[in-house]
Subunit: 171 residues, 2 copies
Protein backbone atom coordinates (compact mmCIF):
# COMPACT_ATOMS: atom_id res chain seq x y z
CA UNK A 1 0.00 0.00 0.00
CA UNK A 2 0.99 3.57 0.26
CA UNK A 3 -0.95 5.56 2.80
CA UNK A 4 1.53 6.48 5.47
CA UNK A 5 0.93 6.32 9.17
CA UNK A 6 2.53 9.56 10.19
CA UNK A 7 2.38 11.84 7.20
CA UNK A 8 -0.82 13.23 8.59
CA UNK A 9 -3.05 14.03 5.66
CA UNK A 10 -5.23 17.05 5.12
CA UNK A 11 -3.01 19.18 7.21
CA UNK A 12 -4.75 21.82 5.17
CA UNK A 13 -1.93 24.29 5.05
CA UNK A 14 -3.18 26.66 7.72
CA UNK A 15 -0.51 29.00 6.46
CA UNK A 16 -2.07 31.66 4.33
CA UNK A 17 -5.64 31.16 5.27
CA UNK A 18 -7.95 33.83 3.93
CA UNK A 19 -5.69 35.26 1.32
CA UNK A 20 -6.04 38.97 0.63
CA UNK A 21 -6.85 38.47 -2.98
CA UNK A 22 -4.52 38.24 -5.94
CA UNK A 23 -3.84 34.56 -6.54
CA UNK A 24 -4.65 31.99 -9.21
CA UNK A 25 -8.03 31.55 -7.53
CA UNK A 26 -7.46 28.03 -6.19
CA UNK A 27 -5.00 27.64 -3.28
CA UNK A 28 -7.91 26.42 -1.14
CA UNK A 29 -8.75 22.98 0.07
CA UNK A 30 -7.89 20.06 -2.12
CA UNK A 31 -10.91 18.25 -3.53
CA UNK A 32 -11.02 14.60 -2.60
CA UNK A 33 -13.28 13.73 -5.51
CA UNK A 34 -14.76 10.26 -5.53
CA UNK A 35 -12.02 9.18 -3.14
CA UNK A 36 -14.42 9.74 -0.26
CA UNK A 37 -16.71 7.16 -1.82
CA UNK A 38 -14.01 4.55 -2.18
CA UNK A 39 -14.51 1.99 0.53
CA UNK A 40 -10.97 0.68 0.30
CA UNK A 41 -9.52 4.12 0.89
CA UNK A 42 -11.53 4.78 4.03
CA UNK A 43 -10.84 1.25 5.16
CA UNK A 44 -7.12 1.75 4.95
CA UNK A 45 -7.27 5.13 6.63
CA UNK A 46 -9.39 3.87 9.49
CA UNK A 47 -7.24 0.81 9.94
CA UNK A 48 -4.08 2.88 10.30
CA UNK A 49 -5.72 5.12 12.87
CA UNK A 50 -7.04 2.21 14.91
CA UNK A 51 -3.72 0.40 14.87
CA UNK A 52 -1.96 3.58 15.87
CA UNK A 53 -4.23 3.95 18.85
CA UNK A 54 -3.75 0.32 19.74
CA UNK A 55 0.01 0.75 19.80
CA UNK A 56 -0.28 3.86 21.94
CA UNK A 57 -2.54 2.06 24.40
CA UNK A 58 -0.06 -0.80 24.57
CA UNK A 59 3.02 1.36 24.86
CA UNK A 60 3.62 0.36 28.48
CA UNK A 61 3.61 -3.34 27.55
CA UNK A 62 5.38 -2.97 24.23
CA UNK A 63 3.00 -5.21 22.33
CA UNK A 64 2.15 -4.76 18.67
CA UNK A 65 -1.27 -5.78 17.38
CA UNK A 66 0.31 -8.84 15.79
CA UNK A 67 2.11 -9.85 18.97
CA UNK A 68 -1.05 -9.40 20.98
CA UNK A 69 -3.00 -11.61 18.60
CA UNK A 70 -0.33 -14.30 18.81
CA UNK A 71 -0.36 -14.34 22.60
CA UNK A 72 -4.13 -14.43 22.59
CA UNK A 73 -4.25 -17.35 20.21
CA UNK A 74 -1.61 -19.38 22.03
CA UNK A 75 -3.42 -18.80 25.29
CA UNK A 76 -6.70 -19.98 23.85
CA UNK A 77 -5.07 -22.89 22.02
CA UNK A 78 -2.12 -24.12 24.03
CA UNK A 79 -0.11 -26.90 22.48
CA UNK A 80 -0.75 -26.01 18.87
CA UNK A 81 2.27 -25.78 16.63
CA UNK A 82 3.73 -22.83 14.76
CA UNK A 83 2.14 -23.69 11.45
CA UNK A 84 -1.33 -23.79 12.95
CA UNK A 85 -1.02 -20.52 14.85
CA UNK A 86 0.63 -18.74 11.96
CA UNK A 87 -1.94 -19.98 9.46
CA UNK A 88 -4.96 -18.87 11.44
CA UNK A 89 -3.43 -15.42 11.75
CA UNK A 90 -2.53 -15.22 8.08
CA UNK A 91 1.17 -15.11 8.87
CA UNK A 92 3.53 -17.11 6.68
CA UNK A 93 5.53 -19.72 8.54
CA UNK A 94 8.93 -18.24 7.68
CA UNK A 95 7.91 -14.83 8.97
CA UNK A 96 6.48 -16.32 12.13
CA UNK A 97 9.86 -17.62 13.27
CA UNK A 98 11.40 -14.26 14.13
CA UNK A 99 8.19 -13.20 15.77
CA UNK A 100 8.21 -16.20 18.06
CA UNK A 101 11.91 -15.70 18.69
CA UNK A 102 11.08 -12.28 20.00
CA UNK A 103 8.21 -13.40 22.21
CA UNK A 104 10.17 -16.35 23.51
CA UNK A 105 13.17 -14.09 24.12
CA UNK A 106 10.93 -11.96 26.31
CA UNK A 107 9.88 -15.15 28.06
CA UNK A 108 6.24 -14.67 27.19
CA UNK A 109 5.91 -18.07 25.53
CA UNK A 110 7.88 -21.24 24.93
CA UNK A 111 8.40 -23.77 22.17
CA UNK A 112 8.32 -27.34 23.41
CA UNK A 113 9.27 -30.18 21.12
CA UNK A 114 6.26 -32.37 20.61
CA UNK A 115 6.53 -35.94 21.85
CA UNK A 116 4.24 -37.29 19.13
CA UNK A 117 5.84 -35.44 16.26
CA UNK A 118 9.37 -34.38 16.99
CA UNK A 119 9.36 -31.99 14.06
CA UNK A 120 6.85 -29.62 15.55
CA UNK A 121 6.84 -27.30 18.52
CA UNK A 122 4.00 -27.14 20.98
CA UNK A 123 3.45 -23.49 21.79
CA UNK A 124 2.31 -22.30 25.17
CA UNK A 125 2.42 -19.17 27.29
CA UNK A 126 4.63 -18.81 30.31
CA UNK A 127 3.23 -17.46 33.54
CA UNK A 128 4.81 -14.18 32.65
CA UNK A 129 3.15 -14.36 29.25
CA UNK A 130 -0.25 -14.96 30.81
CA UNK A 131 0.31 -12.03 33.12
CA UNK A 132 1.24 -9.70 30.29
CA UNK A 133 -1.69 -10.92 28.23
CA UNK A 134 -4.09 -10.27 31.09
CA UNK A 135 -2.78 -6.75 31.49
CA UNK A 136 -2.90 -6.23 27.75
CA UNK A 137 -6.52 -7.32 27.59
CA UNK A 138 -7.39 -4.85 30.31
CA UNK A 139 -5.64 -2.04 28.46
CA UNK A 140 -7.41 -2.92 25.24
CA UNK A 141 -10.78 -3.01 26.92
CA UNK A 142 -10.47 0.09 29.06
CA UNK A 143 -8.44 2.30 26.76
CA UNK A 144 -8.63 1.15 23.16
CA UNK A 145 -12.05 -0.37 22.63
CA UNK A 146 -13.56 2.05 25.11
CA UNK A 147 -12.41 4.90 22.91
CA UNK A 148 -13.91 3.21 19.89
CA UNK A 149 -17.18 2.96 21.71
CA UNK A 150 -17.05 6.65 22.49
CA UNK A 151 -16.50 7.65 18.90
CA UNK A 152 -18.88 5.19 17.28
CA UNK A 153 -21.40 4.32 19.92
CA UNK A 154 -21.91 0.70 21.03
CA UNK A 155 -24.54 -0.12 18.43
CA UNK A 156 -22.50 1.24 15.55
CA UNK A 157 -19.41 -0.47 16.83
CA UNK A 158 -21.18 -3.81 16.80
CA UNK A 159 -22.61 -3.18 13.35
CA UNK A 160 -19.21 -2.17 12.04
CA UNK A 161 -17.60 -5.26 13.48
CA UNK A 162 -20.23 -7.42 11.86
CA UNK A 163 -19.77 -5.86 8.44
CA UNK A 164 -16.02 -6.12 8.61
CA UNK A 165 -16.30 -9.78 9.53
CA UNK A 166 -18.63 -10.25 6.58
CA UNK A 167 -16.11 -8.63 4.27
CA UNK A 168 -13.24 -10.69 5.59
CA UNK A 169 -15.30 -13.85 5.23
CA UNK A 170 -17.46 -13.56 2.13
CA UNK A 171 -15.63 -11.11 -0.04
Amino acid sequence: MTVSRTADPNVSKPAKVARDMAEPEDAGQIRMGELSELLGYSLKRAQLRVFDDFIRCMASLNLTPAQFSVLLLIDRNPGRNQTEIANTLGILRPNFVAMLDSLEGRELCVRVRSANDRRSHNLMLTDKGRGILARAKKLVATKHEARLNEVLGPANRAALLDMLATLARDF
Copy 2:
Protein backbone atom coordinates in the same frame (compact mmCIF):
# COMPACT_ATOMS: atom_id res chain seq x y z
CA MET B 1 1.63 -4.96 10.46
CA THR B 2 1.77 -8.65 10.07
CA VAL B 3 -1.30 -10.18 8.58
CA SER B 4 -0.28 -11.48 5.20
CA ARG B 5 -2.26 -11.14 2.03
CA THR B 6 -1.86 -14.62 0.67
CA ALA B 7 -1.30 -16.86 3.65
CA ASP B 8 -5.00 -17.54 3.64
CA PRO B 9 -6.05 -17.97 7.25
CA ASN B 10 -8.46 -20.48 8.69
CA VAL B 11 -7.69 -22.95 5.97
CA SER B 12 -9.13 -25.28 8.55
CA LYS B 13 -7.09 -28.32 7.67
CA PRO B 14 -9.69 -30.21 5.65
CA ALA B 15 -7.32 -33.11 5.81
CA LYS B 16 -8.46 -35.54 8.41
CA VAL B 17 -11.98 -34.32 8.77
CA ALA B 18 -14.20 -36.53 10.88
CA ARG B 19 -11.48 -38.53 12.54
CA ASP B 20 -12.36 -42.05 13.51
CA MET B 21 -11.70 -41.47 17.17
CA ALA B 22 -8.48 -41.87 19.09
CA GLU B 23 -6.72 -38.51 19.20
CA PRO B 24 -5.70 -36.03 21.89
CA GLU B 25 -9.25 -34.69 21.75
CA ASP B 26 -8.32 -31.28 20.31
CA ALA B 27 -7.12 -31.30 16.71
CA GLY B 28 -10.28 -29.39 15.81
CA GLN B 29 -10.77 -25.79 14.88
CA ILE B 30 -8.58 -23.22 16.49
CA ARG B 31 -10.42 -20.92 18.86
CA MET B 32 -10.18 -17.29 17.89
CA GLY B 33 -10.97 -16.12 21.40
CA GLU B 34 -11.62 -12.39 21.82
CA LEU B 35 -9.83 -11.79 18.54
CA SER B 36 -13.20 -11.79 16.79
CA GLU B 37 -14.18 -8.88 18.99
CA LEU B 38 -11.10 -6.85 18.19
CA LEU B 39 -12.11 -4.15 15.77
CA GLY B 40 -8.56 -3.55 14.60
CA TYR B 41 -8.12 -7.17 13.65
CA SER B 42 -11.26 -7.33 11.52
CA LEU B 43 -10.39 -3.96 10.09
CA LYS B 44 -7.03 -5.17 8.89
CA ARG B 45 -8.44 -8.39 7.52
CA ALA B 46 -11.21 -6.65 5.62
CA GLN B 47 -8.83 -4.04 4.27
CA LEU B 48 -6.49 -6.64 2.82
CA ARG B 49 -9.37 -8.42 1.12
CA VAL B 50 -10.78 -5.25 -0.35
CA PHE B 51 -7.41 -4.09 -1.64
CA ASP B 52 -6.80 -7.50 -3.12
CA ASP B 53 -10.05 -7.33 -5.01
CA PHE B 54 -9.29 -3.81 -6.13
CA ILE B 55 -5.99 -4.93 -7.59
CA ARG B 56 -7.63 -7.84 -9.38
CA CYS B 57 -10.29 -5.55 -10.84
CA MET B 58 -7.56 -3.19 -12.04
CA ALA B 59 -5.29 -5.88 -13.41
CA SER B 60 -5.94 -4.87 -17.01
CA LEU B 61 -4.89 -1.28 -16.29
CA ASN B 62 -2.10 -2.11 -13.88
CA LEU B 63 -3.12 0.45 -11.29
CA THR B 64 -2.59 0.01 -7.57
CA PRO B 65 -5.00 1.61 -5.11
CA ALA B 66 -2.38 4.25 -4.35
CA GLN B 67 -1.77 5.04 -8.01
CA PHE B 68 -5.47 5.27 -8.65
CA SER B 69 -5.91 7.70 -5.79
CA VAL B 70 -3.04 9.85 -7.07
CA LEU B 71 -4.49 10.05 -10.58
CA LEU B 72 -7.89 10.87 -9.14
CA LEU B 73 -6.51 13.64 -6.98
CA ILE B 74 -4.44 15.21 -9.74
CA ASP B 75 -7.41 15.11 -12.06
CA ARG B 76 -9.61 16.85 -9.52
CA ASN B 77 -6.87 19.31 -8.54
CA PRO B 78 -4.71 20.01 -11.55
CA GLY B 79 -1.75 22.29 -10.98
CA ARG B 80 -1.13 21.37 -7.35
CA ASN B 81 2.41 20.47 -6.44
CA GLN B 82 3.86 17.23 -5.16
CA THR B 83 3.85 18.22 -1.52
CA GLU B 84 0.16 19.07 -1.61
CA ILE B 85 -0.93 15.89 -3.36
CA ALA B 86 1.31 13.69 -1.25
CA ASN B 87 0.18 15.29 1.99
CA THR B 88 -3.52 14.90 1.35
CA LEU B 89 -2.94 11.23 0.60
CA GLY B 90 -0.77 10.70 3.64
CA ILE B 91 2.26 9.92 1.51
CA LEU B 92 5.62 11.27 2.56
CA ARG B 93 7.28 13.50 0.02
CA PRO B 94 10.36 11.35 -0.43
CA ASN B 95 8.22 8.29 -1.13
CA PHE B 96 6.06 10.19 -3.55
CA VAL B 97 8.94 10.86 -5.92
CA ALA B 98 9.35 7.32 -7.22
CA MET B 99 5.61 6.98 -7.47
CA LEU B 100 5.35 10.04 -9.69
CA ASP B 101 8.37 8.87 -11.69
CA SER B 102 6.45 5.73 -12.48
CA LEU B 103 3.22 7.48 -13.44
CA GLU B 104 5.10 10.05 -15.49
CA GLY B 105 7.12 7.29 -17.13
CA ARG B 106 3.87 5.70 -18.23
CA GLU B 107 2.85 9.12 -19.55
CA LEU B 108 -0.19 9.31 -17.34
CA CYS B 109 0.80 12.63 -15.79
CA VAL B 110 3.43 15.32 -16.11
CA ARG B 111 5.44 17.58 -13.84
CA VAL B 112 5.60 21.15 -15.08
CA ARG B 113 7.88 23.62 -13.41
CA SER B 114 5.79 26.34 -11.87
CA ALA B 115 6.26 29.84 -13.22
CA ASN B 116 5.49 31.51 -9.89
CA ASP B 117 7.65 29.22 -7.78
CA ARG B 118 10.36 27.52 -9.76
CA ARG B 119 10.99 25.01 -7.00
CA SER B 120 7.67 23.28 -7.34
CA HIS B 121 6.09 21.16 -10.00
CA ASN B 122 2.57 21.67 -11.17
CA LEU B 123 1.06 18.26 -11.60
CA MET B 124 -1.51 17.45 -14.25
CA LEU B 125 -2.81 14.46 -16.12
CA THR B 126 -2.04 13.81 -19.74
CA ASP B 127 -4.80 12.91 -22.16
CA LYS B 128 -3.67 9.33 -21.81
CA GLY B 129 -3.84 9.67 -18.06
CA ARG B 130 -7.38 10.99 -18.21
CA GLY B 131 -8.33 8.11 -20.46
CA ILE B 132 -6.87 5.53 -18.14
CA LEU B 133 -8.50 7.19 -15.16
CA ALA B 134 -11.88 7.13 -16.86
CA ARG B 135 -11.53 3.44 -17.62
CA ALA B 136 -10.31 2.81 -14.10
CA LYS B 137 -13.31 4.55 -12.61
CA LYS B 138 -15.60 2.40 -14.71
CA LEU B 139 -13.87 -0.77 -13.58
CA VAL B 140 -14.07 0.30 -9.95
CA ALA B 141 -17.74 1.08 -10.23
CA THR B 142 -18.86 -1.94 -12.23
CA LYS B 143 -16.57 -4.59 -10.79
CA HIS B 144 -15.16 -3.57 -7.43
CA GLU B 145 -17.77 -1.46 -5.71
CA ALA B 146 -20.53 -3.46 -7.33
CA ARG B 147 -19.20 -6.55 -5.65
CA LEU B 148 -19.08 -4.75 -2.34
CA ASN B 149 -22.71 -3.82 -2.80
CA GLU B 150 -23.57 -7.44 -3.42
CA VAL B 151 -21.89 -8.67 -0.28
CA LEU B 152 -22.98 -5.87 2.02
CA GLY B 153 -26.10 -4.44 0.50
CA PRO B 154 -26.29 -0.76 -0.47
CA ALA B 155 -27.56 0.44 2.90
CA ASN B 156 -24.87 -1.38 4.84
CA ARG B 157 -22.23 -0.22 2.43
CA ALA B 158 -23.20 3.38 3.01
CA ALA B 159 -23.31 2.90 6.76
CA LEU B 160 -19.93 1.22 6.72
CA LEU B 161 -18.41 4.02 4.68
CA ASP B 162 -19.80 6.56 7.09
CA MET B 163 -18.39 4.81 10.13
CA LEU B 164 -14.99 4.38 8.54
CA ALA B 165 -14.92 8.06 7.68
CA THR B 166 -15.84 8.83 11.26
CA LEU B 167 -12.98 6.70 12.51
CA ALA B 168 -10.48 8.24 10.12
CA ARG B 169 -11.62 11.71 11.13
CA ASP B 170 -12.49 11.70 14.83
CA PHE B 171 -10.42 8.90 16.23
